[in-house]
Every structure is written in C-alpha cells, then in structure tokens.
C-alpha cells in the first residue's frame, strides 16, 4: 500500500483519538485479555451477555492506532447483536484482513469495518487489527486471554470459507 491515507483513513484516526465504549464494565459476565507481546498491544475486553444477546461491551488498554480503532469499531459493531452474529463478524473480519474474503465482491456484514481492508497488504500489521476480534472470540468462549503474536491469524481454517 503506497498511499497511507487508504489505511489511516479519518474514521480510523478518529476512533484512535476518541475510542468508543472505552472503560470496563464492573459486573461483566464475560471478559478476556488480548495481548501482542512483540508490539505491546494490550486490550482488556468486558461484556455482559444476556441470553444470546451482547447487551454491553467495553474495552481499555493500549496499542497502536490500528488496534485501538479496530477495538473501538468492533465494540460498536457487536453491541446489541447476538453471539452468533458477533461470531459471524469475527469470521468475516478475519477473512477480510487475511485476504480470504473480498469485502467488495463477496457477501458480508462488515459495513463500516471495511476501512480495515487495506491492512491485508501489511502482513506485519494484520495482527494489530485482528487482536480485538480474537479477544472477542475468546471472551465469548470464556477463554481469559488470547494473543495474536507470531502469526497474523492464529486460528486459521476455523470455518471461514473464502
């Protein structure tokens, strides 16, 4: 990617400056930590899931702009959704950022999250964008920590159909 403005679009810079759903939910019934030891990206995700529905979600931590904006936009995208819908977005986001899903030609529900499509051309940064999504997946499965270090997509072939 030669033009950085394709990746660092205003919407990403804005979510980096003013992350939405920032903080921690005190009485959360789902939580997970996501960590990229090499970058130092670290996010803590807390959620309240009632029945099948994600009623509340929040995150805090520190990381690069890609990681923070991805976290912020993820919380906005899955709040109010069912667990199943959220898992579908995890799969689609992972597919898009690892180049297995073309968001323009293949059916998906990514909407505004398509601003992260450009990250697929930067293999060293894919893990930054994907970390919150793996953390969400871990929280929904009650694994308490996850890491995307070492490979861009630590859960390959997990059901994503290209």
């Amino acid at each position: 990617m030669s033009d950085m403005k394709q990746l660092y679009q205003e919407v990403i810079l804005d979510h980096n400056r003013k992350p939405r759903n920032w903080g921690a939910i005190a009485d959360a019934n789902r939580h997970a930590d996501g960590h990229n030891p090499l970058c130092g990206d670290h996010i803590k995700l807390t959620m309240n899931v009632a029945g099948e529905k994600i009623e509340a979600i929040a995150f805090e931590g520190h990381g690069c702009a890609i990681c923070k904006a991805s976290s912020s936009m993820m919380t906005g995208a899955v709040k109010g959704k069912t667990v199943q819908e959220a898992e579908m977005l995890v799969e689609e986001f992972r597919g898009m950022t690892t180049g297995k899903l073309d968001p323009e030609s293949q059916e998906n529900h990514l909407g505004k999250l398509k601003v992260f499509a450009g990250v697929k051309d930067l293999p060293s940064r894919v893990k930054c964008a994907i970390l919150p999504w793996h953390t969400l997946h871990a929280a929904l499965h009650s694994e308490n920590s996850t890491s995307t270090e070492g490979e861009a997509d630590p859960v390959p072939d997990s059901g994503m159909v290209a």
Partner: protein, 409 residues
C-alpha cells in the same frame, strides 16, 4: 579514506540494494543496527567462492578442499587483524553474537559458575546477553545482578563498582547499546572487573561495525559480534576469547571436527579454535565476512566512526528540533542510533507510515524489553545509520516524521 560529500556517492554505488525503490520511493535504509547491507565486493566474493572454490574444509586432500580450507582459515586471520587479537586461534566462528554468548555461558559458565555465585549484567543489555545468563543462573542457582543507568541511558559507574563482592564470577556487558546507542566506558569497566579477578564478556554486536577495535588494549576476556551487521552475510559471527580461557572451557557442541579421537569409551577434544566449531561451519559466510572486513578496512573504521558521528549529530539536531518528538537515549557518547517516540503516536504506526515513504526504520522493543521498561515506553522507533547513509536521507526521515504528525494531529 575520509568520507564526505565528494565520495559518498562512490561508496553508495558499491551497494546495489541502495538503488531499490520501495513503495515507489527511493529506499532510505535506516535499520543498520538490525542488519547492514552488502557491497558488490562481498557479493562477488560469494559468487566466486560458490563457482570456483566450494568444498568441505579440514577433511579431504583434494584441490577444492585445500583451497576452501585455506580461504576459511585466511578469513579467521582477517578477523584476528581486524580486532587485533594476539593469535588467530583466539577467533571462534559462530552463527552470530547470540551463539557466541551462549557458547561462553555453556563452555565457561557451566564449568566455573556455581550455586550462590553472581553474574553482573547491565540494564541496557539485548535479550541475547540476558537470557543465556538467566538460563545458566537458573540451572546453577546463581544470581543475576544488574548495573543501573540514568535517564540519559548511561551506566552508573559507582553503582557498578558497588555490585562486586566475593561471589561475583562474571561480567557480561554491551559495548554499545542497540536500543539507545550508548557507548559504554568499557575499558574502565573491564579494568575494574579484572582488578577484582572477574572475567568479562563484551557484546560487541553494535560496536564492531562502527568503532575501531583492539581487544588486547581493551583486555576483555571475550568479545562477541556478528557478520551481518558488518556488511557480511547472516549466519556468521565471532567469539573472540583469550586462549587461556578458551583452553580451559568445555566444548559447546559435540560432533565432527571438534575431536582428535573418538572411541565409544572416550573422546579427546581438538585444540582451539576447532574445539568449538563442531560440524561443517558456514564456510561461504566466513569467507564473505573476511571480504567484508577487507571492505571496511579499506575505508577504515576511524573514518567510518567519524562520518557516522557527523550523521548522528545532524540527525539528533534535526529530530530534536521537531516539537512533540522525544529522543530516548541521550548519552554523551553514542553510536549512530536515534531511538525516538512521537507524542500520541504508537511506534508501529510510525514505522508503517515511514515505510510508505521508502524509509526503513525499526519499531518495537529492539529485543531490549528491560530498556523499554526503564524508559516507560512499550516500544520505540529507531533510526540507525551506517557509513553509506547521507544527510539527505536524514532530511527524508524528518519530513516523513512530520507527515506522521500531520496525519495524527
């Protein structure tokens, strides 16, 4: 050969990779502390070796084996001269600095460091000069003591001296910090350690490419460095050790070449340096490294150091003039490394955006997490210079930093 405006173009033309375009822009390679680039003279040496000289060494009596053996041993002599070792048998070829340090931790440490003994390291070590000693300490029940540093990234010499006691058995110390650029006062520190009867290993990975070396004058017991940071290929490095130490040390790895005789009852080890070079070594890489030392020697390390110091001063002045940028590592004596952070921007975003301008820097913790912790940053951006870099490239770095600031404003 003094390096200046009149001949920098000629030097750069020796390095084919510097003509590369990245993201459509001319490559500005400022990641020399991670690995340096290779001049055509070294590339040609590799090609000649593979086309006309390759064979295994120290084995057969045929023409190629004798030729390859001679060239490999000649490379050892080139290293000896480059660092002014007393004898060429004090030069052990390894895969790199990391292997050289591990060799000492195993070969010396396991034999001579025991329960309750203490190993002194500094707060600015690369993980390669921390982890092998921690592994040894864990195995033996020994203890790691750490020399602290000040906010400029300079070791505190009084505190260093206060760490010594009767249990102190080893000092392992960087000559130059990879993350901060600090040139440590190693001569003074080696003298003190030796006056207390403590052997010293210097990690010279960041010093050997940039400073004129004399291991006899330094009087350190071990000195480790890597070929690929000195215009040579990867996979070759050096452990210099005083013969008296190397002779009493245990072998690191067992295998062919490191033996005099083998029966199932008893193996007699070979003499140094071969005792530490089990198996077929990286013959091509060693010979190419020799050619790289010829190349560096042709320019002269004193000239290289002077030119790089000029670049460091220029880069420091230009970068510190940018508001919102902080340089991490401001020691009085530095090699040409500038670690920095841009207020409000994570180093990985800096690295990605600079890359789009063709500017290659390193971002991350530089395998020196204790240094990052000391300065309370998760990571830094690091520009590291070589003698083939220019002031114009510093200007491009600065312009790209400003672009990052505009984008994140």
């Amino acid at each position: 050969m003094r390096i200046d405006h009149s001949n920098i173009g000629q030097i750069r033309s020796d390095f084919p990779i510097l003509d590369l375009k990245v993201s459509g822009k001319p490559l500005v390679y400022l990641d020399n502390a991670a690995s340096s680039q290779m001049p055509q003279q070294v590339i040609d040496r590799i090609v000649r070796y593979q086309k006309e000289e390759h064979s295994n060494i120290h084995r057969a009596v045929h023409y190629l084996s004798e030729l390859a053996t001679r060239e490999y041993e000649e490379a050892r002599v080139k290293v000896q001269r480059f660092i002014n070792a007393k004898e060429s048998r004090e030069v052990i070829f390894t895969r790199g600095t990391t292997e050289a340090i591990n060799l000492v931790a195993h070969g010396y440490g396991r034999a001579f460091i025991g329960k309750g003994d203490e190993i002194i390291l500094s707060a600015m070590e690369h993980h390669a000069n921390i982890v092998p000693w921690q592994m040894l300490a864990e195995e033996k029940g020994a203890k790691i003591r750490v020399i602290p540093m000040n906010d400029a990234g300079e070791l505190l010499i009084d505190e260093f001296k206060a760490l010594f006691n009767e249990r102190t058995k080893f000092l392992a110390l960087s000559h130059v910090s990879n993350a901060l650029g600090t040139i440590n006062p190693v001569k003074q520190m080696v003298d003190y350690a030796r006056s207390r009867g403590v052997p010293v290993l210097l990690d010279g990975a960041q010093a050997a490419p940039h400073l004129a070396l004399d291991v006899q004058a330094l009087d350190c017991d071990f000195y480790a460095f890597s070929g690929h940071k000195m215009c040579g290929p990867t996979g070759i490095g050096v452990l210099y050790g005083k013969a008296e130490f190397l002779e009493k040390m245990h072998p690191f790895m067992g295998g062919g070449d490191m033996i005099l005789s083998v029966t199932f009852e008893k193996t007699t080890y070979n003499t140094i340096p071969t005792k530490f070079e089990a198996g077929t070594p990286p013959i091509m890489a060693a010979i190419a490294f020799g050619a790289a030392l010829d190349y560096l020697g042709g320019i002269g390390l004193t000239n290289i150091a002077a030119y790089e110091h000029h670049l460091l001063e220029y880069a420091t002045q230009r970068i510190s003039a940018i508001s919102g940028v902080r340089i991490i590592g401001t020691a009085a004596h530095k090699a040409a490394v500038v670690s920095f952070e841009i207020e409000g921007v994570h180093p990985h975003d800096v690295g990605t955006i600079l890359n789009a301008d063709g500017v290659a820097i390193r971002t991350g913790h530089h395998c020196a997490q204790p240094v990052m912790d000391r300065f309370h940053v998760p990571a830094t951006a690091r520009a590291s210079f070589a003698f083939y870099n220019t002031e114009e490239e510093v200007d491009k770095l600065v312009a790209s930093i400003r672009k990052v600031q505009e984008m994140f404003a």
